[in-house]
Symmetry: C2
């Protein structure tokens, strides 16, 4: 799939068929994550492939937007390592870029994905830490639900010219209300 097309047509997918995601596909998705840029090229990430049904089914118990995981074949947890990158802000940015690479790679392979927010919500971070038995220096940043899409979603209009400025912030200040 062409890059701009992948970027513009990727949507959050929350309904999946029973088909599995192959080892080869999982490899390519994680590889894409590892090719994200990172501050000082520290590559401060770890990836935990969750495909045991018992582990998967524990996720919706603590995460309010994870009901679809009960019927998804796969979740990949993206974690940040505070020993490799001490600045949490950089950890979040680096992992955000990695997650986006992974979602685009998945989409280009015909695999749907949905990003479940974990960091910086303390309660969810604690629950993922317990589920995945993470040591204290590893921060769970995001859970990516993956599977073959059972839904087709159209492409919304998301370009907002009112969010683009030239050389400096405009005054008087623009209205930037919620969508």
């Amino acid at each position: 799939m062409e890059t701009l097309q992948a970027i513009l047509t990727r949507r959050s997918i929350r309904s999946f068929t029973d088909e599995p995601v192959s080892e080869e596909q999982i490899h390519r998705i994680i590889e894409a994550g590892m090719y994200a840029p990172s501050a000082n090229n520290h590559q401060p990430w770890h990836f935990i492939v969750i495909n045991e049904r018992e582990q998967l089914n524990k996720i919706p118990v603590f995460h309010p937007y994870a009901k679809m995981v009960n019927k998804a074949p796969l979740v990949i947890a993206v974690c940040g390592d505070t020993r490799l990158e001490a600045a949490e802000g950089y950890l979040a940015l680096d992992c955000g870029a990695a997650v986006q690479n992974m979602m685009l790679a998945a989409h280009s392979l015909g695999i749907g994905s949905c990003w479940l927010g974990v960091y910086p919500r303390k309660q969810r971070m604690e629950a993922v830490t317990e589920l995945l038995e993470l040591p204290r220096h590893i921060l769970p940043i995001a859970l990516i639900v993956l599977g073959i899409p059972r839904e087709l979603k159209s492409t919304p209009k998301r370009f907002r010219p009112d969010r683009v400025y030239s050389n400096r912030w405009p005054y008087p200040e623009p209205e930037t209300g919620r969508l």
Copy 2:
């Protein structure tokens, strides 16, 4: 350019020709940023296109890794709006995903890019805030330097099998030293 190819071959580009980046290309790059996912779909971002030479040349004065901006035609500042997303961790993740979309879109259009870290470094954030006259609720997150590449970079091996785990963190703990 094919999506996986774009992901695997994108590199930080720090040397540019004198050719300009067109309005149409700038539009497509920013549009790609706006198609990133965001927590609760708040789309909490703003984009400032910096192409005045005087503004550009002020950037290397305060940013230690920005020398190439003196010879780059364009920088896009990605900013997060704390009124649209109160959780700074989500702002960073959302903007990280947007920046990655923009860098991939640029690469697929034949445009090189380099991510200059701003958030969470207080001193750089203050300097960008002053340069761009940002109000207090707008956080400068990243500067993306853009231009037609004058350098060709090969694709490194970045896949690390030792960063991938199955269903839970492995014990005894693996060695995860710096690269």
